[in-house]
Amino acid sequence: MRLGGIDTTSVLGYAWPPVVEPGGRVAFHLSSATLKQVDLSLVRVRCGDPDAAGPGLKAVPIASAIDGKRAVRHQPLRPGSCAVIADRPVLRGIDSFSVGAFIWPTLPGVAAQTILARWRDGAGWRFGLDAGGHLELAICDGKAVVVARTSQPALGREWLFVCGSYDARTGTLSVRQVSLDPQAGRDRTASGTASAAPGLRWIADAPLMIAAQAIGEANFDGKIDRPRLCRGAIDAAAMRALCEAINPPAGDADLIAAWDFSIDIPGQTVRDRSANRLHGELVQIPARGVTGANWDGTANDWRALPAHYGAIHFCSDDMQDAGWSPDFTLDIPADLRGGYYALRMTAQPADGDPVDSYVGFFVRTPRTAPKAKLAIIVPLATYLAYANGALRMDQVHAESMLEGLLVLSRDDLYLQVHREVGLSTYDTHADGSGWRVSSAKRPILNMRPRCNTFNYGNDTHLIDWLEEKGIDYDVVSDEDLHRDGLAALSPYRCVMTLSHPEYYSREMWDAIDAYQRSGGRHMYLGGNGFYWRIAFHRDLPGVIEVRRDVTGVRTWEGEAGEAHLAFTGESAGLWRSNGRAPQRLVGVGFDAQVFDRSAGYRRMPDGENPRVAWMFAGIAPGEMIGDFGARNGGAAGLEIDRADPELGSPPAMLLVASADRIGYGGMPAPEEFRTFHRGLDGEQNARVRADLVYFPTAKGGGVFSTGSIAWVTALSHNRYDNNVSRLMENVVKRFIDPAPLD
């Protein structure tokens, strides 16, 4: 496609694993729908942001075995979550049968959807909704399809009991749906029958499928709760009793399967309570730990009453594992420095714009061989939470927030029409529910050079600055912090969290906290940090879960009763609502967004305290700090944090500078006010501000926080000769000095 500019999407891919150690191996999984061949190289990313207001794109080529031309192929994506139950002998030779479940459809009437099926090559049976939203049971002997369907389409987001049966003696096919709340115009109770040939038998060699007819085909949108399957054509009342029972009698020889999705909610296996043990595997990580048809508000935590959480919320656009075959691997040389790296893929198609596309990945410093005194923590959880965000295009608030037109990149144009790559945890699925899970096993357009600047691009401004100043650093990732805990940080005298370390698991938080308490020094160089409580998956690397509750800047809200993480059972939502406001950890915590213009910090009385004279060496007392920068002209902007003793800012903290003159574009976070009133914006409200703070911690450690995402984008101003850069140098120098801080 020729649009002018650079084509960043005609070839895409992902690296696995996304974070690799020297001596390890990374595989590249690529796909292109249009190109046959690309030129490959490996680059070390010094700055991934091409914006001329910052350092500019700096991708340093590193000679490697993958240099050169390579053929690429098209590898399709098959979105949609479901459960696959492998074929077993017990599934052979069945003739009459009955199916039942509770369902809560979220997108009825758009396309055919499957509740339960055994279908292959146009033969078998499929129980689901037709394209008009009517319950149907279809049966086919490979020639003629016979369908029984109800006359009433299902209502969205209303529970239905649904059942169907085939009687092989008579050939009668029947379906019935019953509304669980039938009053006030909601009743969709209805039945349907049809006549098929008698004596049909189940097809052989096909898996049983829940929520899809086959992988990526006729997927279900919404919840399915307690699906049942049994031999013989039983009536609706008998099936209803089987579905109501959490634990139907396993000795019932006619019971083929009775799945209980409340067993091991963190896992990816669905369990059958019948004697047949027809367990299945989940595909594309649908949402578990969601309220079932019997949920009544007695418990809000699935761990307290799993029986009320026997549903799974499937989505036809769930995408957490692209499943692409690897094209080639790269052995990471033992002496490769830790850092941001990317596979660069270029091409010059005859009929299109020049292609310059990247696959981002990270090299961490070997656990057993830390080198530098300083380490940066790559915010993989934040990159995953924001992976492939399309929200700006789907909701109308972006232009008002920016006080200007939304500027789309080539990546955005691609995402607008290619939702199959899977969206971010800021987005909503086609059915309106929030994306709760994000995985690195798919192309992530905004975790690579040239991507939209938020997060990855901004963070590389810091990388660029460290390189410019010749400051040695090691590299650790969020997932290392999560899985290794304090051990990931303890080799270092100082660690840096970058522009937006927003998503933290308990394990990650505990590691930072323990590090600070053991004499470690922490430079928190961003805004909106330590905000959402998340989990990494127990078994699957590179996968996080986010649940948005009823507070915080949230682009969607979860359903009532679904604020606990399925991966762990922990209460999700904000850390502030979980007894850990960020102020307690790093002195400051999120207070506002300001996307139209950024500000500078003015020195506060604490900034003159001799205890921090080292911080301001070379900076005059009256100087504004960071009244410049690549993001809207200031170091305080985008998302900003403030100190507050009531929220835990420590008594020993010094508030050394503050950007408290934020304009009317500064809007406070919802948790920052209890009642609505005029005057909440930054022009009138002094609580809309970014605070620069410092405090000593136990055993000579210390914390320095900037409370602003825009901070790092001021570093390269005036060829790195500016007071943000100077202040940073002063802090790094002092923080890697072993002399105890006070």
Partner: protein, 114 residues
């Protein structure tokens, strides 16, 4: 889902307020007077005539006007004859389109920067 329906913005537009037009034309990026803020909120939230966006043909250098299709899996409509060399020029152009859509009156002031 958060409810941010486009028709929720209903500040009335006064077609006689050429002073607000002039204020915007002089300084598209602001800061703006309270009344202009409210007019702009109406224009941006409702976006009469379609959801206008810019496509950065060359980031920081050249922008093309586009319209979001109002549904996913449909392409952004790009207007190849509306290309700008500054965001301010694009803001003014879109302001004129929206002003006309809301008031029925075309603005004839020359574009800035072009």
């Amino acid at each position: 889902m958060l409810n941010n329906a486009p028709d929720a913005a209903h500040y009335p537009v006064d077609p006689t307020r050429s002073d607000l037009v002039e204020e915007f034309r002089r300084s598209p990026k602001g800061p703006h007077s309270r009344e202009l803020q409210m007019l702009l909120h109406r224009m941006r939230w409702e976006s009469p005539g379609g959801r206008y966006v810019l496509y950065a043909v060359e980031p920081g250098k050249r922008w093309m006007l586009g319209k979001l299709p109002g549904k996913c899996n449909a392409p952004v409509e790009l207007m190849h004859n509306r290309v700008y060399d500054s965001p301010a020029a694009a803001e003014w152009d879109v302001f004129k389109l929206r002003w006309e859509a809301l008031t029925g009156q075309a603005l004839t002031e020359p574009a800035i920067g072009n």
